[in-house]
């Protein structure tokens, strides 16, 4: 009986223009038969460091984060900071 574990990015979603939701799935199989699956998630925004991301994630980020979207994100951040009293 051989157990194998495969990890891959199985979902990349663009949410509300600038949020890139990434899901990593880890699937464990025994002799090719599914045993278990776990998920790990993270969300990237235009100010995130994406240098360590997989190329397909970078490609989605670069496509989604147009100059207009980046500007809208900065405006949103500034408005929210004022609303919440950030220093």
């Amino acid at each position: 009986m051989a157990l194998t574990e495969n990890t891959n990015i199985d979902q990349i979603e663009v949410v509300n223009d600038w949020n890139i939701q990434v899901r990593q799935a880890t699937v464990i199989e025994r002799d090719g038969q599914f045993v278990a699956r776990t998920f790990h998630r993270w969300v990237l925004t235009p100010d995130s460091d994406i240098s360590g991301q997989e190329q397909k994630v970078k490609d989605i980020c670069n496509a989604a984060w147009t100059p207009e979207v980046r500007q809208a994100y900065e405006t949103f951040k500034a408005e929210q900071a004022n609303k919440l009293g950030a220093k």
Partner: protein, 216 residues
């Protein structure tokens, strides 16, 4: 057992004359589905909805890997469990160089509702100043609507070398993936919780959070 096709409506009908009132669907000698007029419908393993392949582990409902959102208020259209990695953040963008000793996050999403647990502790906090402390890294973006901008959650903390808090609240702003940390320092002194400045955190701090929020 009889299988009938109503010619006028093309409606198919599988009918059992057995007095037990039960029909079973079997594959390779193993029952997968029972229909009983008295006991209802029983699925022996997992039920896959949408294009989901039913899980071969345990018994339950398997949802599609990518949510097929329903606009119907009575329809459960998503379920997912997993982990995420919380990190320290600040309103100034800088985080110093904390050394994390515990950095654990897990979530369950049911429909639009996300419940998270966070256990985050770090040492060598070198930050100073008035920036608001964040916990970054939530697994889903919160709802964009400004009509529901804040969600208050319960939390615990351990801040032995910092300001003495008597109450801590973590708030998820709309369209975000972070907690903003708020506190009170004395009962009845602060009229409302105030943002936790990074300077109020000691050189080592631990956050325990059990929180929930909505997505779109």
């Amino acid at each position: 057992m009889s299988v009938l096709i109503n010619a006028s409506t093309s409606t198919g009908l599988i009918q059992s004359a057995d007095t037990s009132g039960e029909i079973e669907l079997q594959s390779n000698g193993t029952t997968a589905l029972k229909v009983n007029t008295n006991e209802g419908i029983q699925i022996l393993n997992c039920l896959g909805v949408g294009n989901a392949t039913p899980s071969t582990s345990g018994a339950g409902i398997t949802f599609p890997a990518t949510q097929s959102a329903s606009t119907d208020a009575n329809t459960l259209d998503d379920y997912e469990e997993g982990t995420f990695t919380p990190t320290l953040g600040t309103s100034g963008g800088t985080t110093g160089s904390p050394t994390y000793t515990n950095q654990n996050g897990r979530y369950t999403k049911i429909g639009k509702f996300v419940t998270v647990q966070v256990y985050l502790s770090f040492s060598k906090n070198t930050l100073s100043g008035g920036y608001i402390a964040y916990i970054n890294g939530l697994p889903f973006t919160s709802a964009a609507s400004a009509s529901f901008p804040l969600t208050t959650n319960w939390s615990g903390w351990y801040n032995p070398s910092g300001t003495s808090f008597i109450n801590v609240q973590a708030i998820v702003p709309n369209n975000n993936t972070r907690f903003d940390m708020y506190r009170m320092t004395a009962a009845g002194v602060d009229s409302a919780p105030l943002p936790i400045a990074v300077s109020e955190m000691g050189t080592a701090i631990t956050w325990y959070l059990n929180a929930s929020y909505y997505t779109d």
